[in-house]
């Protein structure tokens, strides 16, 4: 069938409920052109001005630490909007066993199972940057778990590292048969060895998440 529209939405409420409107509802916000996804320290809060104080995540002195909060940087309002249920409780994370966190709505069928993937930039060609594992997919700082059909199963879910097509998540078990939502949850893990990265790698603004799908 023709290329389906794919809307990306994020749940900014404390309710773990399904999305009811592909344009957004009381819980889910439609990801707009120019918006960004970021992870921040616990001091950052919903309603903070994007142009105001920024509280970056902090690399731990030893071991691993989950980023405290995931935000939608909503450029239409100029405000941070926390995706409250994002992440797990591993490494002092503040998420949990939550299902309806990140969503993609397909307006119609796909020929294959859609995937969530991460790339160095919008050419979707490489995944060699430090945050995506620098060639070792397991070291990607972004981990995700599909929740289209079920909860993660545990508050301490680990997820699958995201690094191009080497390591990704299938967003359903079959190709999309008709208009529907798929869901996932995701976390960012900071590790002590990241301190050896060049500064530019800490502030990499080129990374993109992408939905890999097909149509006919």
């Amino acid at each position: 069938m023709s290329r389906p529209a794919v809307n990306i939405l994020f749940n900014v409420s404390a309710n773990d409920v399904a999305c009811t409107n592909p344009a957004g509802d009381a819980n889910f916000v439609l990801f707009g052109t120019g918006d960004k996804l970021v992870w921040r320290d616990a001091q950052q809060a919903t309603g903070d001005l994007i142009s105001g104080a920024s509280y970056p995540t902090v690399i731990p002195a030893s071991g691993d630490l989950d980023a405290a909060k995931m935000f939608l940087m909503d450029y239409s309002t100029g405000l941070y909007n926390q995706i409250i249920k994002a992440g797990s409780t591993l490494n002092s994370g503040t998420g949990g066993n939550f299902r309806y966190v990140c969503a993609a709505w397909f307006s119609g069928v796909t020929v294959t199972i859609p995937y969530l993937e991460a790339y160095d930039d919008s050419t979707h060609a490489t995944w060699e940057s430090e945050p995506l594992g620098d060639g070792v997919a397991a070291n990607s700082v972004f981990k995700a778990i599909t929740t289209t059909n079920a909860l993660p199963g545990s508050a301490t879910w680990a997820g699958t590292p995201l690094a191009g097509t080497d390591s990704r998540i299938a967003l359903d078990t079959v190709p999309i048969p008709s208009a529907q939502y798929v869901y996932w949850n995701m976390r960012q893990v900071l590790s002590d060895w990241m301190s050896s990265w060049p500064t530019s790698a800490w502030y990499n603004n080129s990374l993109v998440f992408a939905i890999h799908f097909t149509y006919s």
Binding site: M1, S2, R3, V6, I8, F31, T33, G34, D35, K36, L37, V109, T110, V111, T112, I113, E117, S122, H124, T165, A170, V174, P175, P177, V208, F209, A210, I211, H212, F213, T214, Y215, S216
Partner: protein
């Protein structure tokens, strides 16, 4: 150019939409048995643009789809590849081509034809006719 021609059992030729648009037409089409699938496109050989034709014939079933990427960060959809597949008669093998930055041959078993995964949207062919899988220059 850039459109699929389906040569059908009844002698008709069904021409689908431009595969570079959002409506390639394969999904909506309902052809009677397919004898042959042809696709003309502009390829590149030794750095020079060259009209080419892809042909799949004699298959038990045929499939076509566009591989695409929808960036989460913006609303852009980019085409990553054009897939032309056929199920070989008398086996569980799938063959065909994917046109990306180069043309790659697909050889897979049923259910594993797209990066190890299954595909939907197959249409009936006519097994028993001559099998052909070629990409050729058009003079």
């Amino acid at each position: 150019m850039w459109k699929i021609n389906l040569f059908l059992e009844n002698g008709l030729i069904l021409t689908l939409g431009d595969v570079r648009t959002s409506k390639p037409g394969w999904g909506e089409s309902d052809p009677v048995k397919i004898l042959r699938m042809e696709f003309s496109f502009m390829g590149k050989e030794y750095g020079k643009e060259q009209p080419m034709k892809l042909v799949l014939a004699g298959m038990k079933e045929y499939n076509f789809f566009v591989e695409a990427m929808r960036s989460v960060m913006n609303n852009k959809v980019t085409i990553q590849g054009l897939w032309f597949l056929g199920k070989l008669p008398g086996s569980n093998k799938i063959t065909g081509f994917v046109i990306q930055d180069s043309i790659k041959i697909v050889n897979a078993t049923e259910g594993h034809e797209f990066n190890g995964g299954v595909t939907a949207g197959w249409k009936q062919g006519i097994p028993g006719t001559v099998v052909s899988t070629i990409v050729k220059e058009v003079l």
